[in-house]
Symmetry: C2
Subunit: 144 residues, 2 copies
Amino acid sequence: MPTDLPNERALRKPGTLELDPTGEGIAIDETPRLIASNKVEGTAVYDRTGRHLGAVHNFMVDKVSGQAAYAVLAFGGFLGLGETHHPLPWKALTYSTELGGYVVDIDPGLLAGAPSHGAGEDGFADPSYRARIETFYGSRAPTA
Amino acid sequence: MPTDLPNERALRKPGTLELDPTGEGIAIDETPRLIASNKVEGTAVYDRTGRHLGAVHNFMVDKVSGQAAYAVLAFGGFLGLGETHHPLPWKALTYSTELGGYVVDIDPGLLAGAPSHGAGEDGFADPSYRARIETFYGSRAPTA
């Protein structure tokens, strides 16, 4: 019977962040509340059913306020080939301490058609990119 | 005569961010308002007189809100030797579009005595670290 509950075994993928479960003081660069920017980069991303979608490539920060505006998700690809980067409003992501990653509460089919750019491209160099993202995600877009 | 005005020539150090001044569409991964997280890492830091102090190593982000809480500044050192990492409340930094970097409005002598950790250490693994930073910077500390 299908269920929306995440499967614990399936979610423990390699690369999933662990909050120093052994307590041996390994360098985690994070606390229960804070995480280093360079650790967000690479954090796994799941859909609402706990299925692994991809990872955070980086995130776009408001220079003045320090508020993260968009998480740039990397989907697909192998060794960088065919990988696409999808900027999502930061507010569309929820951090799950159980999963040790971000959950995106958006239909993966919708994500596939969202504004995106190639892994080697700089989407935000296009002045209209941000507006297209905000239009696409509608009320999910940050107001800043 | 000494002056507090930044010296234009002195401030144009290598590594200073440039907002695509040639307009040739080089990958800048930033807009006038947004910057990619992995570009903040490495951005130059100046004191209020425009003197180059160091660079942003990374920054600590609130996992839930996406708000940058601390910028971890890297001071001194050569090829990683002797470099110290100083976490500063994000609000203590001002982004200067003229300098293309962050300005820290704190006396460098005060910074030298602030909570810090070695470049290879994970200061935030110590549960008391955040409290010590907040105590040190007092009212500059974020309330989150």
